[in-house]
C-alpha cells in the first residue's frame, strides 16, 4: 500500500527522465562510442599538454600610449578550461564575499545589493557577452575611452575576455547563494557578534566560519557554470585561447556541418566536461545540500543595522563597485533595447530604432510568444512532476532515494549539446524522419521535454530542501489517522512547498526562457522565419547575432526583456493555481 502510494509520487517524473534523458543518452553513448571518444581526446595534441607558453600580460608602448594586452597562453584545453573556471569561481566568490559583509550589516545596503544582484541575474544569452566585448573594445569601448585619457589601453583577448564576461555574469549567483545562506543562520549569533564589536575583518572572519557550506556551494556551482558556458568562447572566438576552451570545442566541432556525422574527439570533450561537472558536484554534494537547506528556511533577509554610518558609506561604495558592474552589464543590455544603434561608439545612442526594429520583425515577436508558451507548459510540468519527487526524496520515502536524487540532479552536468544531438538521433530513428512526431515536425515537443529535464535540478533541489525544513508533526498526525503518502503529499505538503517555492519557480522559469543549447539546435528544425515558425527566442538570438552581428542585438535584448516580463508573472500565478489544485 505504502509503496504503491510512493510510486504514484515518483513514477511520472521517472518516466519523463527515462524518455527525456536516459534512453536517448544510452542510445548515443554506447560503450564503443564512449571508448572511441575518450581515446580520441587522449590522442589529441594540445588536449592536456601545453603548446605555447607566454606571459598572460604584455605591455606595448605605442604612440605615447601604454597598451596592456591580456591573454592566456595555450597550456592545453583541459588545463586552460580548469584554470579559467577556477579563477572565475574564486573571483566571483571573493567579490561576492567582500560585498556580503556590508550587505549583512546594514539594512539599506541589503536592499541595494539584492536589487543589483537580481538585475545581474537576468539572463541575456549571447548579447551580454557581446556587450562585454564591446565595452572592452580597444578602439571604441567605454573602458578604453576612459583609460585612454590616462595614456593606457587594455586589450582583452580570447579566454581572458571569456573570464571577465563570466565573472561579471556569475558574481551575482555567488552573492545570492552566500547572502541567502548567511540569513538562514540564527540571527542571534550575528547580533551577539555585533554587540561584541565585530565589524569589518572580524565580522568577515565570523561569516567565513559560519558560511563554509555556502562558500563551497557557490565555488562549485560557479565552477560548473563556467566550464559549461558556450556563449563566452563563441563571442571571443577570433583569438586562439577562447577556441581552446573545452565547451567551445565540444560545441563547434561536434557536428560536421557539411557532411553530417559527429566528431568522436568533440564528443570526448563533452564527456570530459560531464566528468568534471560530476566530480565537482560529488566533492561538494554535502555542502550544496546543506546550503539549499539553509537557503530555503524562509528567515527574514534584512541587515542588522537600520541606518548607514561612516562605515556604511564605505560599504555602499564597495557594493556599488563590486556588484555594480554585473548589474550595469544587464542594464546596458536592457537600455540597448531602448536605443538607436551601437556601431563604433562607446555607448548605444538613444532612440527608438530597436523598438521599431522589433515591432517590424514578426519572426522575433513570434519567437517571444513561442518561448512564452513553452516556458509556461514546462513550468507547469516542473511544478507538477518535481514537487512530489522532491518530497519523496527529502523524506526518504523510498529505499533508493539517494539514487533517485542523483538521477534528478544528473541533468545539471550533461552538456546541452550532447542532449540535443541524442534527442535528434534517437527520436528521429524511433518515429521516422517523415513523422509529424519527429523533432523536425514537432520541435516544441522535444524542447519542452528537454527544458523540463535540463532545468529540473534548479527547482527540485531547493524544493527538497524546503521539504526538509518543514516540521514533521502534521504529516505524522495524518499518517496516524490513516492517510496515504500520496494523500499526505497532496493535502498537506504540496500546498505549502509549492507556494513557498514561488521564488524558486520564478528563477527556474527565467532559466527555461533563456535556455540555449536545445533551443539553438532542436529549436530551429521547424523553421525560424515568418510569423508562424515554432522556434524559441534564444534560437533567433543566436541566429541573428551570428549572422547579422550587432544590428539586431538591441531588438533581441528588448524581446528577451518582454519575454521575462510575461513569463515571471504568469509563473507566479501558476504557482498559486497549482498549489490550490493540491488542497
Amino acid at each position: 500500500m505504502k509503496s504503491n502510494s510512493v510510486l504514484k509520487l515518483v513514477a511520472p517524473v521517472l518516466v519523463v527522465y527515462t524518455i527525456g534523458v536516459f534512453i536517448p543518452l544510452l542510445a548515443l553513448l554506447t560503450p564503443t562510442t564512449l571508448a572511441r571518444s575518450i581515446l580520441s581526446v587522449l590522442h589529441e595534441p594540445g588536449f592536456a599538454k601545453p603548446t605555447l607558453l607566454y606571459s598572460p600580460v604584455t605591455i606595448i608602448h605605442e604612440n605615447r600610449t601604454r597598451m596592456i594586452v591580456l591573454d592566456f597562453p595555450l597550456i592545453g584545453s583541459l588545463w586552460l578550461t580548469l584554470l579559467v573556471a577556477l579563477i572565475v569561481s574564486i573571483s566571483s566568490f571573493l567579490l561576492a564575499y567582500i560585498v556580503l559583509v556590508p550587505a549583512i550589516l546594514y539594512r539599506p545596503i541589503t536592499r541595494i545589493s539584492l536589487i543589483l544582484a537580481l538585475i545581474g541575474l537576468l539572463p541575456y544569452p549571447f548579447i551580454e557577452a557581446y556587450v562585454v566585448q564591446r565595452v572592452f573594445d580597444p578602439r571604441i569601448g567605454l573602458v578604453n575611452t576612459l583609460l585612454r585619457k590616462l595614456g593606457v589601453i587594455i586589450v582583452v583577448k580570447g579566454a581572458i575576455g571569456v573570464l571577465i564576461y563570466q565573472v561579471l555574469v556569475f558574481t551575482p549567483v555567488a552573492f545570492v547563494i552566500l547572502l541567502s545562506y548567511v540569513y538562514s543562520l540564527p540571527r542571534e549569533q550575528l547580533e551577539a557578534a555585533l554587540q561584541l564589536g565585530a565589524r569589518g575583518a572580524s565580522l568577515a572572519r565570523l561569516i567565513y566560519r559560519a558560511a563554509r557550506p555556502a562558500i563551497v556551494a557557490s565555488l562549485s556551482l560557479v565552477l560548473v557554470l563556467s566550464i559549461d558556458d558556450v556563449a563566452g568562447p563563441l563571442v571571443f572566438e577570433q583569438d586562439p585561447s577562447a577556441r581552446s576552451l573545452l565547451a567551445y570545442r565540444a560545441y563547434t566541432y561536434f557536428l560536421n556541418s557539411v557532411y553530417g556525422g559527429f566528431s568522436y574527439t568533440a564528443l570526448g570533450h563533452a564527456i570530459v566536461l560531464l566528468l568534471l561537472s560530476v566530480l565537482v558536484f560529488a566533492i561538494s554534494y554535502r555542502s550544496i545540500a546543506e546550503t539549499y537547506r539553509g537557503i530555503t528556511s524562509g528567515r527574514e533577509r534584512a541587515g542588522l543595522l537600520p541606518r548607514l554610518d561612516r562605515g556604511g558609506a564605505l560599504g555602499l561604495v564597495i557594493v556599488v563597485a563590486f556588484l555594480g558592474p554585473s548589474a550595469l552589464l544587464k542594464i546596458l543590455c536592457i537600455v540597448y533595447g531602448f536605443s538607436s544603434k551601437w556601431v563604433a561608439s562607446p555607448l548605444p545612442s538613444p532612440g527608438l530604432h530597436q523598438l521599431r526594429l522589433l515591432s517590424s520583425s514578426p519572426d522575433i515577436l513570434r519567437a517571444v510568444l513561442n518561448s512564452f508558451l513553452y516556458t509556461t507548459v514546462s513550468i507547469i510540468l516542473v511544478l507538477v512532476l518535481l514537487s512530489p519527487a522532491a518530497y519523496a526524496v527529502a523524506r526518504r520515502l523510498i529505499r533508493a532515494s539517494g539514487l533517485l536524487d542523483a538521477a534528478m540532479m544528473s541533468t545539471i552536468a550533461i552538456p546541452g549539446i550532447v542532449l540535443a544531438y541524442a534527442y535528434y538521433q534517437f527520436f528521429t530513428s524511433v518515429v521516422g524522419p517523415g513523422s509529424s512526431l519527429s523533432p523536425i515536425g514537432m520541435p516544441w515537443l522535444y524542447l519542452v521535454l528537454g527544458y523540463v529535464v535540463r532545468r529540473a535540478p534548479l527547482y527540485y533541489k531547493p524544493l527538497s530542501a524546503l521539504v526538509s525544513s518543514l516540521p514533521l508533526e502534521l504529516e505524522e498526525a495524518a499518517r496516524n489517522l490513516g492517510a496515504s503518502i500520496a494523500r499526505i503529499y497532496r493535502s498537506i505538503v504540496a500546498p505549502i512547498i509549492i507556494k513557498r517555492g514561488v521564488g524558486i519557480a520564478a528563477f527556474t522559469s527565467l532559466s527555461i526562457a533563456s535556455e540555449v543549447s536545445l533551443s539553438i539546435t532542436i529549436g530551429g528544425l521547424g523553421g525560424s522565419s515568418g510569423a508562424n515558425h515554432p522556434a524559441p527566442l534564444t534560437n533567433l538570438v543566436a541566429s541573428y547575432i551570428s549572422f547579422s552581428g550587432l544590428a539586431y542585438a538591441g531588438a533581441l535584448a528588448l524581446a528577451l526583456t518582454l519575454l521575462y516580463a510575461l513569463a515571471i508573472p504568469v509563473t507566479i500565478i501558476l504557482v498559486k493555481l497549482v498549489s490550490a489544485l493540491h488542497r
Binding site: 572511441r36 594540445g46 557539411v258 519572426d363 508558451l373 500565478i573
Partner: protein, 454 residues
Amino acid sequence: MDGRRIAALVAIIVIVVAIGVGLALFKPWGGKKEVVLKIVTRLSPEEQKEIRQAFLSSKIAKEYHIKDVEFTKVDYSLWKQLALSGKVDLFFIGEKVVYDRLCKEGAFAPITMDKLVSIINGLKPQFVGRDTRGNICWVAVGQAVYGYIVNNNFLKQYNLPKPVKWGSLENPVYLKPLLSHAYTVSFPRPTKSGTARTTMHGILQIYGWDDGWRLLTVIGMEAGIVDSSEKARDQAAEGIVGVAPAYIGYGIEAEKEGKGAVFEIPRGEGIAYISPVALAKKAPHPREAQAFILWLLSPDGQKTIAKLFYYLPVRNITGISWVKEVYQKMKGNIFQYNRTLAEKVDLAATTYFEAAIADSDTNALLKEIGQLAAQLMEKGKLSKNQWLRIVEQLAPLTIKDPWTGKQVKFTLEYAEKINNKLQNNADRDKFYNAVKSAAINTYKKVLEELKSTS
C-alpha cells in the same frame, strides 16, 4: 474534487489555451486552403526577411494562395534528412557542390511544372542540374562573385598597402598588426562558411596546391578565425580588421556602414558562383514550391534578387542594366573555378585547414611565428626572402599517415585518395589529429629557428 481545485485546474487550462490561441491569432493558422512554404536556406535572417516580404507581395504568391514562407537555416549535414522528411518544400541558396551531391543521393524531386520547365530549358546548361535520367534536379536563380572586403581605415591605421589579390597577403608587411595584437584579416572556418570554403579552394587552384597552402597558412597567421562569413563581414565593415572574404552582396552591405570598407575583386581571382534552388524529394506543396521558383525566375523575382543580393540574373531581363554594369567591370577579374576538383578534395582540404591553420593550438603558434617575424623585420634582422623560405617550411605539411603509420606529404593526390575515407567520423578525427600533431611539431621547429635568428 472540490470547487476550488476545479477552479484552479480550469484557470491553468485557460492560461495555456489563451497563450496557444494568442499564438494562433498572432498570424492565423486557419485558412487551410492557403499554403505556408517551408524553405531550407543559407540566407541570413535579414536576407530571409527581405525575400519573404518581396515574394509575399507578388502576384504569383497570391495566385497560388501562398500565405507565408518560413525559412530554416541549418547545417548542410541535415539537408538530406530534411528533404526526405516531408516537412520541407524547397532548398534555396548554398553551394552547387552540395546540390549536386544531394541530387545524386536522390534528395530532390524533379521540377515538372510546364511553365517553369520551358523557362529552365531556355537557360544556359551550366545553370541547370540534372539527374542521370535528365530530370531537372536544381536550377540556378542568380550568379554572383566572391571577392574580399578591404577596410581602408584599418590599412591606413597600420600603414599597410591595399592588397590587390589574395597573394598580396603573403607580403610580411601584413604581419605588422600582430605586433599590436590586431589581425589584418578575418577568416571564417571553412567547415562553417561556404564563402571561406570556396575561397580556400579558389586559392588552392589559382596558386597551385603547394603555394596555395603556403598562402592560406600565412592568411591564417594574419587572421582572427571566426565561425561565419557574416562575422567576418561585420569586422571588416567596422574596421576591426583590414580584409575579409565576402560575396558581393555582403561586400556592398559593408560599404554602406561607411567606416572605410570597400568591396574588391582580387585581381584575376574573383570566383563566380551560382545560387541554386531545388524541390525537396517529399515536398508537401510541390506545386506551390515550384511557383516560388517560377517567381524567382520571373522578371520581378530576378529584379528583386539583383536588388537585394546583387545577383546577376540568369535570364535576359530588362531594367537591371546597373547590376550588369557592376559585373561588366569585373569581367577580366573572374577566375574559372574548377568545382569538380574542389569536390574531389573538399573533406581532406577543409579538415587540413581546420587542423593546421584554424585550430586554437596551431593558430596560436602561427601567430607567434608571425609576430616574431614582424619584430625581426622591423629590426632588419629578417629579409623578405628569408621570410619566404620560412613560409615554405610551414606548408603543406608532411604528416604521419594515420592508417599506415608512414610519413606522407599532404599532396593533391594524397588528398584525393583519402577524401572519401574522411566521411567516416573516426577516420576524420584520426586525420585531424595527425595533421595537428605535424603542424605543432613543424611550427615549433620554425619558431625555434626564428628565435635563434633574434
